[in-house]
Amino acid sequence: MTIELDHIIPIPLKDRFLQRNSEVWNTSLTFEQGHYIKIKAPSGTGKTTLVHILYKVRHDYEGAVLLNNTPITCLSEDALSELRQQKISILFQDLRLFPNLTARENIELKRILQTPYYEPEMIESMAEALGVLPVLDQKASLCSYGEQQRIAIIRALIQPFTWLLMDEPFSHLDIANTRKAATLIDTECRKRKAGLLITDLDEDDHFNYTKQYHL
């Protein structure tokens, strides 16, 4: 699935962005499936806004986002759920776990929301790889933010997808844990021949990026 940005610009930030050059806002861009895309930008320049626009949780922008040449504004209720279950997986900056469910239940919910891509044992094996196996049966609200971030990463990787959107995925992880998480993400994306779009504050070499943009 290709993602195409056709001169998108968020309405609340319009005046600010029109005054300066951006490699993403108000230009025409195409992301091919399988490409690793890095969007680098300082705080307050709209990284999260961009991810939310691509995931269709924000609608206050001008221009158009096209998935395989279809504007996402044309997606029906059912088509949107299908997209989120099968094509696009996401890691929110604010994680968005259900605080009352355990870590395992949070991941399991995403696993069985559609026909499962992985067997349930995969949750444990991923949790072990990221070092959160001991907290799997704790309530998500009782886990540390770093643990929650890793659980949210596993939740994003447990479902089928052709694109993985990640909004500052390693913000609360130390270098060692970041490396482990990046390895797992890379493996899972290659397994699915999926594209990866990551936003972050700084330069990094976690992945072999196809293209890097400044927002």
Binding site: E77, D78, S81, R84, Q85, F98, E108, L109, L113
Partner: protein, 397 residues
């Protein structure tokens, strides 16, 4: 229960409180019972009136005539428009004209041992309206024997009053049927005689009946006025206790056997009870559904955050609606099944109670109760679906 349902159940708790839920369920149950009871009572009453087991053969035929007053003396004939109007009434199944003999007639005994002579008048009615007309209820021109049907009360009057006062023997129906007597018809050209024989006794019409063919022939030949309107008609009706029939008779100044229409008063009471029970049931159903819909709304609003996040993560509104429907709707089915069960038990009890008084009502609930239950089930299904749809799409926006 599958895993997704278990997780959804954990996220979307019925946050609106057990009490409100219990209230909604109680309301629905009472409403359901009232509605089904109303339907069952109506059905029982219908059975009492129409089922073969309870049917009284005389009750469904009514002989009507104008009430004789000082004003209409000599003018009691029913006009064509009176009769047509009667035919068009919904409670009338068919109308038969009673044709009176318009000639003088007498009957007398052939036997010296049992002499009698009396002047008499005959009447005839279409065969369909006679309960005891058999194969021999026919007359052809030149046939000497004329079959006659006699009201039961004539024989009773003879056996229990007349025979005592005249010191005559009592007669059974069989004996009377064996007697051949002489019928004399008086015309302008003298007397013509026939043999008469009683072929049946009826409770339905209180006059001496002869076959209609004979009556037409005799009226043509001996009748004094050629074209006389009938004064009496017989109607068949499904329900002589129908209050509309009684009102109609009253409005048209017609009279009939009051005994046969006495049910109309009971019927009005039953109708009132059924109506009150039905209306109360429907109003309660409306309120119960309102409470139920509020319950659904509160549950969804209380879990709005979870629902929004579920949809953000890719849960389809369809999945959530299905889940919520599964949470709320089964209790409706349970209520209806329990209500039908209670009605069935009550009906069985009523059946036994009435059986000891020789009144028969079905031991099982009527199929109309099932239809009513199904209809209400569909209404609750629709209400559930509507409100779940409405509040889920409000949350999804």
């Amino acid at each position: 229960m599958d895993g997704l349902e278990r997780l959804l159940k954990k996220l979307i708790r019925s946050g609106a409180g057990r009490n409100r839920f219990a209230l909604a369920i109680t309301g629905l149950s009472v409403a359901m019972l009232l509605i089904l009871a109303a339907v069952q009572i109506q059905s029982n009453y219908h059975d009492l009136l129409h089922s073969k087991t309870n049917q009284d053969s005389i009750a469904n035929f009514l002989v009507l005539n104008k009430i004789l007053t000082d004003q209409n003396m000599g003018a009691t004939a029913l006009s064509d428009s009176d009769i047509n109007d009667l035919k068009q009434q919904p409670f009338v199944e068919s109308v038969g004209l009673l044709s009176p003999g318009r000639f003088k007639a007498s009957i007398q005994s052939y036997s010296d041992r049992f002499p009698f002579y009396t002047d008499i008048a005959f009447e005839s009615v279409p065969k369909d309206f006679i309960d005891v007309a058999g194969k021999d209820w026919i007359w052809k021109e030149n046939q000497q024997l004329v079959p006659v049907i006699v009201p039961n009360m004539f024989l009773d009057f003879y056996n229990f009053q007349f025979s005592f006062s005249q010191n005559l023997p009592q007669l059974t129906q069989q004996v009377v049927k064996m007697i051949i007597f002489k019928i004399n018809l008086y015309g302008p050209n003298g007397i013509v005689s026939f043999n008469g024989q009683v072929v049946g006794f009826s409770d339905r019409i209180s006059s001496l009946l002869v076959p209609q063919e004979f009556m037409e022939w005799a009226n043509n030949r001996f009748g004094k006025n050629k074209d006389t309107k009938p004064s009496r008609v017989i109607i068949s009706t499904k329900d002589p206790g129908n209050p509309i029939l009684v009102q109609y008779l009253k409005a048209k100044n017609l009279s009939t056997d009051a005994d046969k229409t006495r049910f109309s008063r009971y019927r009005q009471v039953v109708d009132l009870v059924v109506t009150i029970s039905g209306i109360t049931g429907v109003i309660m159903l409306a309120f119960a559904l309102l409470i139920f819909s509020l319950f659904i709304q509160l549950t969804i609003v209380a879990c709005k955050e979870e629902i929004i996040l579920l949809i953000t993560l890719g849960a389809s509104p369809k999945q959530l609606r299905k889940f919520l429907m599964k949470q709320f709707f089964p209790v409706n089915i349970l209520i209806i099944l329990v209500s039908i069960g209670i009605i069935a038990i009550l009906q069985y009890a009523v059946h036994h109670q009435l059986l000891s008084r020789h009144i028969y009502v079905n031991a099982l609930p009527s199929y109309t109760v099932l239809i009513a239950a199904l209809t209400v089930l569909m209404v609750t299904w629709w209400v559930n679906r509507y409100f779940i749809r409405k509040y889920i799409s409000l949350s999804a926006k």
